[in-house]
């Protein structure tokens, strides 16, 4: 790690900033994981707890922003310090969105709690959620160890999340076509799957930010996209027309 600043209060400010971002990371991870757990178990009270927790995440994000802005104003950070502070602002923004997406899943738990939930559908969603949560966990570990290589692995693995999401999309469409009574449940699950896929995207954003912090260079690569869900819609339109 870096040497200490001549001005020790500067170090304290940065440490506080990183601690808050880490705290947000832990919370976002838990919200994601618990929202899916509430969904697969039909656990309404857990879902309600998740909704409450998201408010804490929002508050922390405001604190991170305020601290970062104050530090920029007071210290005029340069080089590594500047990159770290910009990264804290960006990562906290991503984590706040992750919390929102988790909260949205939790709200849907309450909406679908009375509906029959086919096991195979739920298993597919759980699998997607496991991968999404793992992505988030790995990228947060990469952040705390400032490990650009590990961040890059997360970034590449997002393709798998996308592919699973596409598969999930097909499966849900099939269920809806089989029996219109499935449409309410499947629409909610479709949004849940999309939310998890979006959480995966935030994990890749964070991975790119880590790359910037460590190397000082913007991540230039174009990510391979595994999400074909939008194209499936077009295929179906075609079928209907024909």
């Amino acid at each position: 790690m870096m040497n200490e600043h001549t001005v020790t209060a500067y170090d304290d400010e940065l440490k506080l900033l990183f601690r808050k971002v880490s705290e947000m990371g832990g919370l976002a991870e838990r919200i994601t994981q618990q929202s899916v757990q509430a969904l697969s178990n039909g656990d309404v009270s857990l879902a309600q707890a998740v909704i409450v927790e998201d408010a804490v995440l929002d508050r922390l994000q405001n604190e991170v922003d305020e601290n970062a802005i104050l530090t920029i104003a007071k210290r005029q950070p340069m080089a590594m310090d500047l990159r770290e502070i910009v990264a804290a602002i960006r990562i906290s923004g991503d984590l706040e969105r992750v919390g929102d997406l988790g909260k949205n899943i939790a709200k849907r738990v309450i909406a679908v709690s009375d509906l029959f939930q086919p096991k195979s559908l739920m298993r597919g969603l759980e699998h997607l959620a496991e991968l999404g949560t793992l992505q988030l966990k790995d990228v947060l570990d990469a952040y705390s160890s400032r490990d650009a290589e590990r961040a890059q692995m997360v970034w590449h693995r997002d393709e798998e999340v996308d592919q699973l999401h596409t598969a999930m999309f097909r499966e849900l469409l099939t269920y809806m076509m089989e029996d219109p009574r499935n449409i309410t449940l499947c629409t909610h699950l479709l949004f849940c799957a999309k939310n998890i896929e979006r959480i995966g995207d935030h994990a890749t954003n964070i991975a790119e930010t880590i790359h910037y912090v460590v190397t000082g260079e913007m991540f230039g690569e174009n990510r391979p996209k595994g999400d074909r869900a939008s194209e499936i819609a077009l295929e179906l339109d075609g079928e209907q027309a024909g």
Partner: protein, 270 residues
């Protein structure tokens, strides 16, 4: 993909308009008696750009700056070795007229040091002793133009016969810049030109530096990292008499290569 090729295009354009080298230092070493203050510094000064020299006190940045117009000649125990060129000509060659060199490579100091004469005379002094003007009208024109370029004319035009020392600190510094410009230099050296000025006067001088860059090559020594980041295109970092790193200013302050630079600009220098 389009974005990448755009960046590459921009890089290619930047490559094409890469400025020529106005001054070049090769293996420049400076000794004060037995003590070596500068060690084999190789540094190119690009034309019509601002180069900032940064580093902790005693790092040799001012010493290097003073080599560029042979100000170190005035110190008896000081010896300079290596090679310094202005437009590919050795400025330490025996035939070089130092007075003429200093007209081509002007200097502005940390503390504004106007002569104890009128504002007009402060600016007119250089052109007069160098015989640059043919008559009074010509001289008046040079004084007016120089004061205008230094952004001071409007403030002093009604009191050109008043003493230069009666101006405020920021005005005095701009008077010194006008004095430096009056002899039509090609390079202007600035040794912490804003360290005695308040933030508003500093901003005015920085604005002036940005304008002067169109016609002059500028080398500035500054203790303010933010100022170096604001005014310069290239930055050179000195430490203990060595040139540690030189790079584009934008890169230097976001992603420096050397740990010493990183420590210094982030405030970790012990």
């Amino acid at each position: 993909m389009n974005l990448m090729s755009g960046v590459e295009q921009e890089a290619a354009v930047n490559q094409a308009i890469e400025p020529s080298i106005k001054m070049r230092g090769e293996k420049v070493s400076v000794f004060y008696g037995d003590k070596q203050a500068l060690f084999d510094v190789d540094l190119d000064i690009p034309e019509c750009q601002v180069m900032a020299l940064i580093g902790p006190s005693g790092c040799g940045k001012s010493t290097f700056l003073r080599c560029l117009n042979r100000m170190n000649d005035t110190i008896d125990i000081c010896r300079v070795s290596g090679n310094i060129q202005l437009d590919n000509e050795d400025i330490y060659a025996p035939h070089v007229d130092v007075v003429e060199l200093r007209a081509r490579v002007g200097m502005v100091f940390q503390k504004p040091n106007p002569f104890p004469k009128s504002i007009f005379e402060n600016v007119a002094y250089g052109p007069r002793i160098h015989g640059l003007t043919k008559d009074r009208t010509d001289l008046e024109e040079v004084v007016t133009t120089s004061l205008q370029r230094a952004g001071l004319f409007e403030e002093v035009k009604d009191r050109l016969d008043e003493p230069g020392t009666g101006l405020s600190g920021g005005q005095q510094q701009r008077l010194c810049i006008a004095r430096a410009i009056a002899v039509s230099p090609e390079v202007i050296l600035m040794d912490e030109p804003c360290s005695a000025l308040d933030p508003i006067a500093t901003a005015i001088v920085e604005e002036l530096i940005a304008e002067l860059r169109e016609n002059y090559t500028i080398v500035i020594v500054t203790h303010s990292m933010q100022q170096a980041a604001r005014v310069s295109q290239k930055t050179a970092m000195f430490h203990l008499g060595n040139l540690v790193e030189v790079d584009e200013t934008d890169t230097m302050f976001t992603n420096p290569k050397s740990q010493k630079t990183q420590d210094y600009i982030t405030g970790r220098y012990g």
